[in-house]
Symmetry: C2
């Protein structure tokens, strides 16, 4: 295998850069071996893994080391690709958009700098996972919950910056972020919001500060390296209820969304309730081969038989109520009434004291307990399980949800894939997540997954839907959909990019934003 180099950098230049980085970080923290770089390949790549391979990885331990790394990158114009812990699975893992980029891996910066129980927040570095933060809160006895995303090993900073979401009342991670420290491409260290007052105690309390607020601009972007991030935490409730409502009919989706929306709008339902498709629910209880092993997508008859046998719904609404027992009861009564008229809907609810833990797998997330239960999906289809996700934003109307569902289901079936997905309820929108599950060991499946994703994105575009997040391979395509006024939004993004990063060293191509130096690399691969 030939040595991988950063684009438009000679081997001699790269060696000088590596030597400089080794002098700063120490040899063990500059990774160049094929074996060492293997962890930076996309584990779920819907195509050739090497299309997004890194030439090296750097593991700094401090802000000062990051600044030193940036100086060298600027000197040699070497693109860096920042990851917190690199768990961005289904969207590219730790792999860079521009092949040959050097991964800037922040996993060693893993301090929980502050937890404030009274004001219910934490300030963390990028290497802190949801597991870490949860364990820390428990160990110290803080009465605070994290809001775990699907996979608890993810970085709090990384997930928040990618606008991941969870399941509790704090499910909108971007909305519960407060205050950042960012190192810009030129090495300047910025603290946003109230953090810009040296002696302020309000950095994690009031988001905007004074003047323009930049936090949201550093999300899903390549404008800086976020080194500290404030996150609001949910005070542990005195009690909670975990509820599930199972629906028998495919078309019930419309009623579910129409019922959930007003409950979310008036906060009867405060959490990011999940409307989980039958297959995803079944994957927590069984493997696909038990039910079907023919070619193509599972036929309707097999799905119906499976759901009957497993006793789960075609749609399964997972929700949680937190608070005093009286308030929980009052809100649950409203929810019961709201769903009473949906035929054959079956309701389940279990009440817990605030410090009690549910035993079931997936729903532990709703009790603020991180888990890896979501990874059971990898066993669903067998083989070297992988998935790539299609994630369109859906208006919170039954009509839109049904339209997206049938659109995705039909297209997936065409490419031989089951509809494996669901909707997570924001207030006025739903996050629709469809996972194309495939066996990485089967080249046909890998190719089909990639082709399916491209088709789905075209379908969405034609219907006026846009994605909230996309895999490396589709970042440019997703960005291109946001095309109002001949791409004015992307023009703005790239004007700011060039002002902040004139040498184009930070994450070229991330979310479709290319610095001037690499703008010719844009492409819908």
């Amino acid at each position: 295998m030939t040595r991988s180099l950063p684009p438009e950098v000679t081997a001699a230049q790269f060696d000088r850069a590596l030597a400089a980085w080794r002098a700063t970080l120490g040899d063990p923290h500059v990774v160049t071996s094929t074996a060492g770089l293997a962890v930076y390949l996309d584990p779920f790549a819907p195509g050739e893994r090497e299309a997004f391979s890194a030439s090296a990885a750097l593991l700094p331990a401090s802000v000062e080391e990051i600044r030193a790394v940036l100086r060298v990158a600027n000197q040699f114009r070497i693109p860096l690709w920042t990851v917190s812990t690199g768990r961005n699975f289904a969207y590219g893992g730790a792999a860079p958009r521009l092949a040959g980029s050097v991964v800037l891996d922040l996993q060693r910066m893993n301090r929980i700098i502050e937890v404030n129980e009274t004001l219910a927040y934490a300030l963390v570095e990028p290497g802190v996972s949801y597991f870490d933060l949860h364990a820390h809160l428990r160990a110290k006895g803080y009465r605070l919950w994290v809001d775990p995303p699907a996979a608890g090993w993810g970085s709090v900073v990384g997930n928040t910056l990618e606008r991941g979401f969870g399941y509790t009342d704090y499910g909108d991670h971007a909305a519960t972020q407060c205050g950042m420290e960012v190192v810009l491409a030129n090495g300047d260290i910025v603290r946003t919001g109230m953090g810009a007052i040296d002696t302020s105690t309000a950095w994690q309390l009031y988001r905007p500060g004074y003047g323009p607020s930049f936090d949201a601009m550093f999300m899903q972007s390549n404008y800086g390296v976020v080194t500290k991030l404030g996150v609001w935490l949910m005070p542990a409730p005195s009690a909670y209820l975990l509820g599930e409502i199972q629906f028998r009919h495919e078309a019930d989706l419309e009623a579910i969304v129409e019922i959930v929306r007003p409950l979310r709008l008036d906060a009867t339902l405060g959490n990011h309730a999940v409307i989980e498709g039958g297959l995803r629910r079944a994957a927590g209880l069984s493997a696909r081969a038990q039910w079907y092993d023919g070619p193509g997508a599972m036929p309707e008859s097999a799905i119906a038989a499976m759901l009957d046998k497993l006793n789960v719904g075609r749609w399964n609404l997972h929700f949680a109520l937190y608070g005093t027992p009286e308030l929980i009861d009052a809100r649950y009564a409203i929810i019961e009434r709201a769903f009473a008229h949906v035929p054959q809907a079956r309701r389940f609810a279990k009440r817990y004291a605030g410090d009690a833990e549910p035993t079931a797998g997936g729903d532990r997330n709703l009790a603020g307990i991180p888990s890896m239960a979501a990874f059971r999906m990898l066993d669903w289809r067998g083989g070297a399980g992988a998935h790539v996700d299609f994630a369109p934003v859906c208006p919170a109307t039954g009509r839109d949800a049904l339209r997206q569902y049938f659109m995705v289901k039909a297209r997936a079936a065409e490419y031989g894939f089951d509809y494996y997905g669901g909707f997570t309820a924001g207030v006025r929108h739903l996050h629709h997540i469809f996972a194309a599950i495939f066996d990485r060991g089967d080249a046909n499946q890998v190719e089909a997954a990639g082709a399916l994703l491209r088709s789905l994105m075209s379908d969405a575009r034609a219907a006026g839907y846009g994605e909230y997040r996309a895999h490396l391979a589709y970042m440019d395509f997703a960005a291109a959909q946001y095309s109002f006024n001949d791409g004015a939004l992307l023009r703005l993004s790239e004007t700011i990019k060039d002002a902040l990063d004139p040498n184009g060293i930070l994450a070229p191509g991330k979310q479709g934003i290319w610095p001037a130096a690499w703008r010719d690399r844009r492409g819908y691969t």
Copy 2:
């Protein structure tokens, strides 16, 4: 009086610019007469009004006309100062930071473009006031509420961009904004978030879109002219309760804040509850001269006598509960219990059906009804009433609130001013608002108000507090407090400013952000 010109522009150049603007906008919409420009002077200036006077005002009627205005401004390098309706009273009104700037007054762009009852939002132009939007919702029978700020004549767009706040569950206006259309200095029209998908129906439903999110960057800034703004509206509740708790002792403030914070954190209290100081409460019922007409701040004895006579508290907590009667009762019971141990606290509560209107003045805001009740404060001290506000962000702890209160009260008394103010409860922070009320007809009072504000800002800085908003005269000073890493945040702001507005035509000096062309004008006046 000599003619006012834009800085560094000759009379001949200005005449050419005005001629070009007249050709585009029509004569009546290019204002240059002294009489016509009088409305653009700061009505509450804590100093010479002329320090922030405009050389002209332009009233475009459309985005295309704005683009034409910008072309001329770029050609002649004439600074513009954008206002929506110019009601930014106490912070400068419609007056520009840089004297001689041309006011770009958007009041003629006053369309309510869309109201969606199902998804509970509106899309409005800058000229739409809270009164306008409220009247429109009522006239059309939409079951949606606005969240009015203190003065209902303010622009929805203007108030939101300045991060104003109100009193209901939708009190954080910046947080309930969703989607913008912005004209950049170069005339490019950007739609943020999902609005960048031409055919999207999700512009007002999901804020971030894909990639970096810029909405918060266009608030309290001078990066563009916002021409459309989406705002989430509160669905009319089935019932509501308006509550007031009156507290007898000055030091009760600490207990109030300590009790309110957990109730806000777990959403028992969903609204932006107001902890109103005794004088502000009294100003709604009487005039100062009834109680005291000696020199200096009202003495404690006069305050105590006044509060006793008027039967109001030293602190008065105003709150609202919205929802079903059952949920309101359950939450009110929690609130009653929480405050039960505060000695001599008196509770009042009145329940309303969702479509009933309270008769009392100030609290109508809590029922989503805009009013001008706040302007009664202008009569408090008599004469040509005016005020300038000091608005530090306060951590939501009793200790911080008490510290800020005593700090401000003592300094105000030193300059002969009463403590006229209160705290509005965010979740983890409080907005502390102190109004220095003065008689514009009394030069000594005008000067003292200005001197007091400067002292308060120095006090705040020394104590680690920062302001969320500031009057024109103190914008630079407020920005300078955000000085971490030698002013890195302002460096970032100005780097972006120069990239987006190389000629420096948009609102130079706003929130302390100066474009390169005018950077030498920075100063703590």
